[in-house]
Symmetry: C2
């Protein structure tokens, strides 16, 4: 993988120019992406900014995020060749920092569950996860040092874990979703993929204009180890990776206690699909009314079923979510972060599914920052998830960095 901080150091030292760094990414994409299918298209050649705190950083932009200089197709034939007028807010922000939004990355249609054409860079017989398939794969394969994804269920954390990269789904609306195709406005959250936790912390601190995000976490963090029983059971090797991460954290100075989520969280977990689908039915109303047959089968079926949801179902689901959010806020007085699974297990074999978001969706609904840290080991990657209170993105990243370091020394 390519480290964003390494590129920035080399540029600061004068051993690399921003233009050369971006050129190298173009070259990697041209040579290696044909076997991956992570990249849909690249930006026209243009002068590369040499100034700015992210100068030299080529960024992958999930193709549900608008770009003024590249087509944006939302993963759907309905938008074949579509050219938005404007950059999404996050893209404009990256440009203002000197970064180059270089490539559009493959997304499932409208960030739903129908797989994109991307393969897992660690084993092309396995899914890279979704819906931010191309962004996770491009970073994992070393094509790009930074990529943008979005998460409505588990679309950032899951593909990052499957591909073995670091990623953050920040606090809800820390990053603006203006110019991002909506699936569910209460859930859709922009996230970042990078080669290491330090890389994504640096990028997020700059993009969000909050330097404290990059500060170290607590020296002796109190971690709450959580199996999310309400979400079902995980694979044995995912549980083993979680245990390994917890033991490494303890050796590095953390205290680890067990957390069993009380009943309101099971209700909130169950409420997630209702919130998501009732909103998706509205957000994609034009596509459903005008182009139902152009929708891929899983999404089409989901929207078919969503027609039967009522506003009362939705309002009840939102109340369940609200109750759990309030309780979670109180619970965070007892620990600094939750340590939990990033996914059910390793990336499943086959490209017919992007895997399961059941260990992610509760936290998307809670709006809290989630970081996935790769756990080194044999075989396909596994990750563990570090979750902090709403607004404490810096805490989640600081603790994730500590665990990443402890695992590297283990």
């Amino acid at each position: 993988m390519i480290s964003l901080l390494d590129i920035r150091s080399a540029i600061a030292n004068g051993t690399l120019s921003a233009a050369d760094a971006v050129h190298a990414a173009r070259k990697e994409i041209a040579e290696r992406d044909p076997a991956l299918g992570a990249i849909l298209r690249t930006a026209p050649e243009a002068a590369v900014p040499e100034v700015g705190p992210l100068a030299g950083i080529a960024v992958g932009v999930k193709d549900i995020i608008d770009t003024g200089d590249m087509a944006t197709e939302y993963g759907s034939e309905i938008y074949a060749g579509w050219r938005p007028r404007a950059d999404a807010a996050i893209v404009a922000r990256l440009r203002s920092l000197g970064a180059v939004p270089l490539a559009k990355t493959a997304t499932t249609a409208f960030a739903g569950l129908d797989p994109a054409a991307t393969v897992n860079p660690r084993d092309p017989a396995h899914t890279p996860g979704g819906s931010s398939s191309g962004s996770a794969a491009a970073v994992a394969a070393g094509l790009l040092p930074l990529a943008l994804g979005t998460q409505t269920g588990g679309s950032v954390i899951r593909p990052a874990a499957f591909c073995g990269v670091a990623a953050i789904k920040p606090s809800f609306r820390l990053l603006p979703t203006v110019g991002v195709k909506t699936f569910s406005w209460a859930l859709d959250t922009l996230g970042l993929f990078g080669a290491s936790v330090a890389d994504i912390a640096h990028a997020l601190a700059l993009i969000a204009e909050r330097p404290a995000i990059e500060a170290p976490g607590p020296e002796r963090p109190r971690l709450a180890l959580c199996l999310q029983a309400c979400a079902g059971s995980a694979d044995a090797d995912a549980l083993a990776a979680l245990d390994r991460a917890a033991r490494a954290a303890e050796r590095a100075g953390a205290t680890v206690s067990d957390l069993v989520l009380p009943e309101p969280f099971a209700r909130a977990w169950a409420a997630h699909p209702t919130v998501q689908d009732f909103e998706a039915r509205q957000a994609l109303a034009w596509e459903y009314a005008s182009h139902r047959n152009g929708l891929p089968p899983v999404l089409r079926g989901g929207l078919d079923r969503a027609q039967d949801l009522t506003a009362a179902d939705y309002d009840a689901a939102r109340r369940d979510a609200h109750r759990a959010r309030r309780q979670l806020k109180e619970m965070f007085s007892g620990f600094d972060a939750i340590l939990t699974l990033s996914s059910v297990g390793r990336a499943p074999k086959g490209l017919g599914s992007t895997g399961d978001a059941r260990f992610n969706r509760l936290w998307t609904l809670m709006g809290v920052p989630c970081v996935t840290v790769p756990v080194p080991g044999e075989g396909l990657p596994l990750g563990v998830q570090v979750i902090a209170r709403f607004g404490d993105d810096g805490g989640a990243l600081g603790i994730a960095r500590m665990i990443e370091g402890a695992l590297a020394r283990a």
Copy 2:
């Protein structure tokens, strides 16, 4: 004005066809809009649905709301001739109910403060208010029975009051803003303009799929009369209209007590521009970076100043808003609705300003439903504002309807 409920009755009685109702709106627009400047363009002639609970209702769509069959220019030369691919969610929803999104209505650029070319139908020497200038004026002039606007500060309630129509800014996100150009994602709220409170209640109940919105309010509502001292003082005739509305409500069975907003509300009121402008800077980052000279002067100046806002300013403003929202929720145990000013006074003379949103912005930030009711009298219109707790759009409308009736009998 044209009543939505009257049209629907005539269609139900078989004395009017939906096609004729929509044709009549086209004719009014063609004949009378040239003197008003409320309408920017109309939809291509097409078959008018005769089925659906809003069949026959021609709707005005503020031109910051995407329409797949009409250009959408966001009030700005930067988007001259821009054709979105899809309908906004609210437009698709209207179509699914049988309504015809017939015309795009004039908006200030990006729903900011630089005036549109619309005049006040009650006196063309006066502003119709903004930013939903065309929607308010089109309903007031009887061109259309229903129109969509948006409010970030006071852009629904103020123009409705200035033009003498009923309007609601519903609870935050009751109506989806997918496909609406963003100014501030924490504040932008879709609203409805109509000839009477009953008209907008009927439309909102259908659009939001919540029949209870149309139910009668409490028989003897407890009203809290509020002058919003933190927002400064109002004109004498606006205060007199508010008093008249309060007395009429009392005669109709309401109890009225005085409400002085405690200190957290002054802080929240002061925090509104920070939330709005910090988000606008991000939401309009592409326009500002690529087309700064194409922005109108007030908006450009606002964005210039917004460049100096920090994330810490924004986070503090959001905390102030959150604190006031929690306190407001508790306060609503003591009354059913707040009765307050819709605007500083009547529509100011001249077309160089759209007026002042200072009696609106606190409530936009609180996310609570606000209804403006015209107060009959001599001269240019005045309105009073009825505000209920978050989610109680039906209560706000029911009480507003009671006051509207009581004022008509006075």
